[in-house]
């Protein structure tokens, strides 16, 4: 961080109470990393995610540490009258409550009575009303009912999800958008509002329009594995290379043709481009007009070349020669990236067990600070500090502790 780095955040001064379980963690993290004061409110025995492996050094749950950075943390028993009363005192001076509602959550009416300027965002699997509102849901079933699962995976196997819960990421960012939209509206009206964010619905947009296009194309979707369907053929998009896999498309269009031309030149420099390949007039190339036989012939030649190179050799060449080719990175390759290093993306965050390297800012602003403010809170780390802000003194806090309210 240079001395001239901005210190103010876009959401400085916004107070958020974060009641979410894991599907909503990202929303509060993003708001906090834009400058909001986000207070995570957990039951006295801690959020269930704290007990979920893998752990750091046998103690800290890594999903907790990863997705609750920049928040303060308190414990409060919301199933007890005294705990609920204290929460409402926090609500009176808060701007936002975000929640993944549970049996002990607060309804909008009660929150709105307490603070008419409050913005309340509830993230649920399917939405708060409607025929599936009472259904149980999770990442798997949200993705299943979005069209996204059906078309992900290999044609000869069941549909497959991303092993990480992408609906939580999509829904978490959507919830953060909802918060800021509602805050912008409040600038004008002075009133807060309630927002209902559904993970199922959040997962439809990641089909990038294909779901809406069904009405015109009749395309119900299909799994193509490492391939992509074109008008007259299927084309490989994920290719084995010497030490892993790379993503590369034989698709055309003005944005892609220069990359195909450059790839053929690269192959030719290694004596691996046939005369037939070199003879192609790329200015007239249209992948939608190719037959499967033509695609297979091209693929054999590109595939042989990729198998002779490593992921890093191919990606280095892609950067130097403007090839539209990407390595299938895992965490090790991502952490070793020279591009991310040059941008100062990874940051070492000091928590109780020592520094831990995290992905840092999700964007960079020239004028405001975006990025991690503090490590994820230890259980109850800020209880005394936060409750003192609503007038709970040390003696009162001791009584609350004795009664297991905090």
């Amino acid at each position: 961080m240079t001395p001239s780095s901005p210190t103010r955040g876009n959401l400085d001064g916004i107070r958020v109470l974060d009641l979410t379980r894991e599907p909503g963690f990202l929303a509060g993290k993003l708001l906090a990393e834009l400058g909001a004061d986000v207070v995570k409110v957990e039951p006295p025995d801690g959020d269930p995610a704290r007990r979920r492996p893998p752990f750091r050094g046998g103690i800290g749950s890594l999903v907790w540490l990863a997705l609750n950075t920049s928040k303060r943390g308190i414990t409060l028993a919301l199933d007890r009258p005294r705990g609920r009363e204290l929460f409402l005192r926090l609500v009176a001076r808060a701007d936002v409550v975000i929640d993944t509602p549970t049996a002990h959550s607060f309804g909008w009416d009660e929150l709105h009575r307490q603070n008419p300027r409050l913005v309340h965002v509830a993230v649920t699997p399917f939405g708060e009303d409607g025929p599936y509102a009472q259904w149980r849901g999770s990442d798997l079933t949200a993705v299943a009912t979005s069209g996204n699962l059906f078309s992900t995976g290999d044609p000869d196997r069941p549909p497959v999800r991303c092993t990480m819960p992408v609906s939580h990421y999509h829904g978490g960012i959507e919830a953060a958008v909802a918060v800021v939209f509602a805050l912008l509206a409040r600038e004008r009206t002075g009133e807060g509002q309630h927002v209902d964010v559904a993970l199922q619905e959040a997962m439809v947009m990641p089909n990038i329009g294909t779901a809406a296009m069904y009405a015109m194309t009749g395309n119900r979707g299909a799994r193509a594995g490492a391939f992509m369907r074109q008008e007259r053929s299927v084309m490989r998009e994920i290719w084995p290379c010497k030490d892993g896999f790379v993503s590369f498309a034989l698709r055309g269009g003005p944005a892609r043709i220069p990359g195909l031309v450059a790839m053929v030149r690269y192959m030719d420099e290694h004596g691996m481009a046939s005369d037939a390949l070199k003879a192609i007039d790329w200015t007239r190339y249209n992948h939608n007009l190719l037959t499967q036989e033509q695609v297979d012939a091209l693929s054999a030649e590109f595939g042989t070349f990729f198998r002779s190179k490593t992921m890093s050799e191919l990606y280095r060449a892609a950067c130097e020669r403007n090839l539209m080719l990407a390595p299938i990175n895992d965490a090790r390759e991502i952490v070793a990236s020279r591009q991310l290093a040059a941008r100062g993306f990874f940051v070492d965050v000091d928590d109780a067990d020592g520094p831990l390297r995290h992905p840092g800012a999700f964007a960079i602003s020239n004028a405001t600070r975006i990025g991690i403010r503090r490590p994820a809170p230890r259980l109850g780390e800020h209880t005394a500090e936060v409750l003192a802000e609503v007038g709970v003194d040390a003696a009162a806090l001791a009584r609350l502790r004795a009664e297991d309210i905090v």
Binding site: R136, V160, Q193, G225, A255, M324, A326
Partner: protein
């Protein structure tokens, strides 16, 4: 209340999904979003399936139409100095500028933040590309397919014994518009409260990696590399997709804990294999997950996916039919929320477009306009925003500036 962004104008440069999907958030809540386009280099979504016989040509692309409803289109051939001057005047006049060209393209035209801010001190502008505006790999070209691979999503999606596949739909193209909407909205709030503008550099790969923070810190803390594991979970079993009656029909079932398992065993009629006490704990079920999945598949096979889901949900178990794109248009929950909304398009006729996943108590998204034909609103925008009269527009058009 009137629409949240009524009176707000956003100027958009670029194409594909990552940029244009972001501004739809604002357009659906009343913003005037003006796309700057050119026939000389059309948005690739206008050409993705283009053949010489495609109805409507550049104006008939389904993919462009479903992503760009509620926007206006201005045709400006930015290889012409007069067109650049008009783009600059528009950029200085509007409330925010969004662009997703390759880094350096806007600077080449003098339309980058550093250049614009001299004449518009409170400019709010967002630039988004794969690798960001700085760094040695900033010029690396790519679409969402490359972003998904670089950010680690492909590696984490698929079967352990097969090639990685990546989630359908190039996920950085859908995560980054959400990030961009959040960043742009927060910048507008900051300007409303302080008067200060800003330029935001959103690298789509970095946004994706922030989402996968759990996988990253699992590696930096313990050296463990998380990898794709089909539909299974490290924390729960059974957790997967099971065959049902019909061609390519499936039901998703997630048993999160031992109480869920007891309810599931009852709901499927307590078959002998499921009553094995070794399966009463998640550790026990994970240890013989192949057998558990096989047993459950025997029960689901031949039943309707909707019946299985309804029956298991009635028993308090997390289960849902796997829906394809056709099914979504019959999904009662999406219908209840009004996810798909009809719009009338000059070439394509009446077709659905999507809106977002958030429903506000005091305002509602609205689809007012179909996606624009290329340059459909050129004269209107130049007249209304810049006061350029019709005869001057005609001259510029004849000169190839508005192309």
């Amino acid at each position: 209340m009137t629409a949240l962004f009524a009176g707000t104008t956003i100027l958009e440069f670029g194409g594909g999904a990552a940029g244009p999907v972001a501004t739809r958030y604002f357009a659906d809540h009343g913003a005037t979003v003006i796309r700057v386009e050119s026939r000389q280099r059309p948005d690739f979504l206008r050409t993705l399936r283009l053949t010489p016989t495609s109805p409507g040509g550049l104006d008939g692309a389904h993919h462009f139409a479903v992503l760009n409803a509620n926007k206006l289109s201005v045709a400006l051939n930015l290889s012409r100095p007069e067109a650049i001057a008009l783009a600059r005047r528009l950029a200085l006049r509007v409330d925010a500028v969004a662009e997703n060209f390759a880094p350096g393209a806007m600077a080449k035209w003098g339309l980058d933040y550093a250049s614009l801010v001299k004449d518009r001190p409170d400019l709010v502008m967002i630039s988004t590309c794969l690798n960001g505006q700085t760094g040695p790999e900033r010029h690396y070209p790519g679409f969402g397919g490359q972003g998904s691979a670089l950010a680690g999503f492909n590696h984490l999606t698929g079967w352990p014994d097969r090639e990685p596949v990546g989630p359908f739909g190039t996920i950085t193209d859908s995560l980054s518009p959400r990030f961009a909407a959040l960043l742009l909205a927060s910048a507008l709030l900051h300007r409303a409260r302080t008067g200060e503008g800003q330029h935001i550099d959103l690298a789509q790969v970095e946004g994706g990696i922030v989402c996968l923070a759990e996988a990253i810190v699992t590696y930096t803390a313990n050296g463990e590399i998380l990898a794709r594991m089909g539909d299974r979970s490290r924390h729960a079993a059974p957790h997967g997709v099971f065959p049902c009656a019909g061609n390519d029909r499936w039901v998703a079932i997630a048993v999160h804990d031992d109480d869920d398992w007891r309810r599931l065993v009852q709901a499927i009629g307590a078959p002998a294999w499921a009553n094995d006490s070794a399966l009463a704990t998640v550790e026990g079920r994970l240890a013989c997950v192949d057998d558990v999945e096989r047993g459950l598949a025997e029960w689901t096979r031949g039943q309707s996916r909707r019946d299985v889901a309804a029956r298991l949900q009635a028993a308090g178990i997390d289960a849902a039919p796997v829906e394809d794109f056709a099914d979504l248009h019959e999904d009662p929950q999406l219908a209840h929320r009004g996810h798909f909304r009809p719009v009338e398009h000059a070439v394509l006729g009446r077709h659905p477009v999507e809106t977002h996943a958030m429903r506000f108590s005091a305002m509602a998204p609205e689809i007012r306009l179909p996606a624009p034909r290329l340059g459909e609103h050129t004269e209107q925008v130049l007249r209304e925003l810049l006061g350029i009269p019709a005869d001057e527009c005609a001259r510029l058009k004849d000169a190839g500036v508005l192309d």
